[in-house]
C-alpha cells in the first residue's frame, strides 16, 4: 500500500509537468501584447514595458519562462495578476467557495441519487422504478443552463424559497439551490448507477446464500447486496467531486458565484495569463490527488482490488 502511494505520487510529477507546460505554452501562444491597454488610451512608456517584460520573464524563451514560473509555483508563489493581486489569494478565496459548492452538490447526489436508486432497484419494474427512470432521463436530457435558469426563476424569483443569486459571502443557504442544480445531472447518473448495480447484485449468488443463512430480507438486501452495489457508485461520486472542484462555469454564471470556473473564464477573456495558468495548475494537482484518493478508496471498498 505504502509503495503504491509512493509510486502514484511519483507518477504525478510527469503528469503535472506535462499538463502545466501545455497550459503555459497555450497561454504563451495567445496573440497580442500583454502590456497593451495597461496604460489607458496612450502607448505605455518604454520603461514600464521593460519593467513588465523583466518581471514576467517575457524576453526569455518559452522553456526558460516555464521553468522559472514552475520554480516559483513549487515555492507556493503563483505570481501576481494584472491587477497586482496575488493569484494565490484569489485562488484560496475562489476554491473555498467552489469547494463548499462541490461538497454540497455531492451531498445532494448521495442523499437523493442513492436513495432514488435504491428505491428503484428494490422495486424493479414497479411504479417507483419507472418514475425514477423517466425523471432521471428528463434531467439528463435537459442542458444544465436550462435547469439552472428555470429553477432560479421559479424557486428563487417567483416563490422566493431560495436566494436568487449568491453574495460574496456565499452562505450555505445561498449555495443550496446552485448545489442542487450543479448536482442534478450527477444525481441522475448516481440514481441509475445505483439501481443497475443493485438489481444486478440482488440476483447474485451470495444474496441467495444470505437468505439461506436465515438473514432477514432487509439485511440480505440492505447489507449484503447494497454493500457490493455501492462500489462503483462511490467511485463515480469520488471522481465527480474531483470534476466539480474544477468549478462550474455555467452554474456559477447563473447564480453569480465567485468560484474557480468563473475565475478561469474571466482570466481567459481578459488575457490574464498568470491567473489562468495558476488556477489550472492548482486544478491539475487537486484533481490528481482526488483521483489517487478515489483509487485508494476503491481498494478499501473492494478487497479484491489489490494495491500491492
Amino acid at each position: 500500500m505504502g509503495k503504491y502511494i509512493v509510486r502514484r505520487l511519483l507518477q504525478m510529477i510527469p503528469v503535472i509537468i506535462g499538463t502545466t507546460f501545455i497550459i503555459y505554452a497555450m497561454v504563451f501562444a495567445l496573440p497580442g501584447d500583454p502590456t497593451a491597454g495597461k496604460c489607458g488610451e496612450r502607448q505605455c512608456p518604454e520603461s514600464f514595458v521593460a519593467e513588465y517584460r523583466e518581471k514576467y520573464n517575457l524576453d526569455d524563451p518559452l522553456p526558460i519562462q516555464y521553468a522559472k514560473y514552475m520554480g516559483q509555483v513549487v515555492q507556493g508563489d503563483f505570481g501576481t495578476n494584472q491587477y497586482g493581486v496575488e493569484v494565490r489569494e484569489d485562488l484560496a478565496k475562489r476554491f473555498a467557495v467552489t469547494g463548499r459548492l462541490a461538497l454540497m452538490a455531492i451531498a445532494v447526489e448521495i442523499v437523493i441519487g442513492i436513495s432514488a436508486g435504491i428505491l428503484a432497484g428494490i422495486r424493479k419494474g414497479r411504479f417507483v422504478d419507472n418514475l425514477v427512470l423517466v425523471s432521471t432521463l428528463v434531467v439528463i436530457s435537459i442542458p444544465i443552463f436550462v435547469i439552472g435558469a428555470v429553477l432560479q426563476y421559479f424557486l428563487g424569483v417567483r416563490l422566493g424559497l431560495f436566494p436568487v443569486t449568491v453574495s460574496s459571502e456565499a452562505t450555505t443557504y445561498e449555495l443550496l439551490l446552485p448545489a442542487i442544480v450543479l448536482g442534478s445531472l450527477s444525481v441522475a447518473y448516481v440514481a441509475r448507477l445505483t439501481r443497475t448495480n443493485l438489481v444486478e447484485n440482488l440476483r447474485a449468488d451470495y444474496v441467495r446464500t444470505a437468505i439461506s443463512k436465515g438473514l432477514s430480507k432487509r439485511r440480505a438486501v440492505g447489507l449484503h447486496a447494497l454493500r457490493n452495489s455501492m462500489i462503483p457508485v462511490i467511485t463515480f461520486i469520488g471522481f465527480d467531486f474531483g470534476a466539480l472542484l474544477g468549478g462550474a462555469i455555467v452554474t456559477e454564471g447563473i447564480f453569480n458565484i465567485q468560484g474557480v470556473g468563473g475565475y478561469i473564464y474571466r482570466g481567459i477573456q481578459v488575457r490574464d495569463g498568470v491567473a489562468v495558468v495558476g488556477a489550472v495548475t492548482a486544478l491539475v494537482i487537486i484533481y490528481l490527488f482526488v483521483n489517487l484518493i478515489v483509487d485508494l478508496l476503491y481498494g478499501v471498498l473492494d478487497p479484491r482490488i489489490s494495491h500491492d
Binding site: Y206, S212, K213, G214, R219, H224, N228, P303
Partner: protein, 350 residues
Amino acid sequence: MSATTVDTPQEKRGSGSKSKYVPQDGCLLEVDDLYVEFHTEEGVAKAINGVSFDLSQGETLAILGESGSGKSVTAQAIMGILDMPPAKIPSGQVRYCGRDLLTMDPNERRHTRGPEISMIFQDALSALNPVFPVGWQIAEMFRQHRGMNKSDALERAVGLMERVSIPAARERVKAYPHQFSGGMRQRIMIAMAIALDPAVLIADEPTTALDVTVQAQIMQLLADLQQERQMGLILITHDLGVVADVADRACVMYAGRLVEKSEILDLYAAPAHPYTRGLIDSIPRVDQKGQTLAAIGGLPPNLTRIPPGCPFHPRCYLARDICSGERPELRELVPGRFAACHFSEEVLGA
C-alpha cells in the same frame, strides 16, 4: 409432538438451546407430492411434478439427475430460496419435523434457515460475499441467530474453520473469499452452513466446481460431519461417482419427477429404470479405456413441453407403444425399491 422420545443426537444439537422442532420417529424432512413451476414468457415450465421423499436423522440421501432434472429446484424449494415469482408452488408440502414449511409464517420459516436446515452451494466463490471477510460471514450466523457479540462470534468462526481443516484458521479468519483456493472456499461454505448445528444439511453439487482430489476431501469432510452431528444430509449431484461411498439412499430425478428411489448399493448393483441404467453406464471406467463412452442419446426435455406418457420415452432404449401413451407411476418393486417404469422388472433382470 411432546410425546415423542427425544433421542441422543437431537439433544446434542443446538449446544444447549432447546429446539422447538423435534423429529418424529427419527424422520426429519418429508417432501410430499411437491410441484414447482416457473412462469416465464415462453410458457409455464413444470420443473417439479409431484416429488415425494423423506429424510431421517443421520441419513444421507442422494438426489441424482442431469441438469434441468429439477434436483436443485427441489433443494431451493425446501430451503425456501426460490424466486417467487417467477417460481410458483401450486401444491405439495415440505414438512420439517411435522411442520409444513410452505404454509409456515415467513418470519418463522426464516428462523429455520441456519439453525434447522442449512445449505451449501456449488460455486463457493460466488456464493460467498466478496466484500466481507470469511470469518465475519461465518460469525454472522451466531450474531444474527444467537445474538452473540462480535468477538465471541468470531471465536466460534475460528473454531469452525479449524473443524473444517482450514490451516492457520486464526490468522485467516480476516481473509476474504478470493484469497482462498476453491477447496478451502467450499470448506468455509460448509463451516458457515453447519455453524448452528442444523438438523438437515442440503449440499447442492458441493464438489462440481472442484478438482478430483479436492472433491474426495470435501466428500469425506461432509461424511465426517454428518456422522459426528447425526445430520440428515441431502446430497445433490449429477456425478454418480462421488456419492456411492457416502449416501445411504438415492432418488433419481428426470423431468421433475422421481424415476427411481432405493438404497444406493441396490441402485448401483441393479438399476430398475432405464434412465438410471444410462446414468450408471455413462460413468467413465478405467477398464473400458479407448472404448466409446456410453452416453444417453438425446437431451432432457424442455420443461414447458414435457412429452406425454413417460417423459423419458423419446430417449429410452426400451420404449414401446405404452410408454408414449401412459405415464408409469412410481411403484414399489420390492420393499424399499421404487421405480417409475412399465418395464422395471425387465430392466432389473437384465
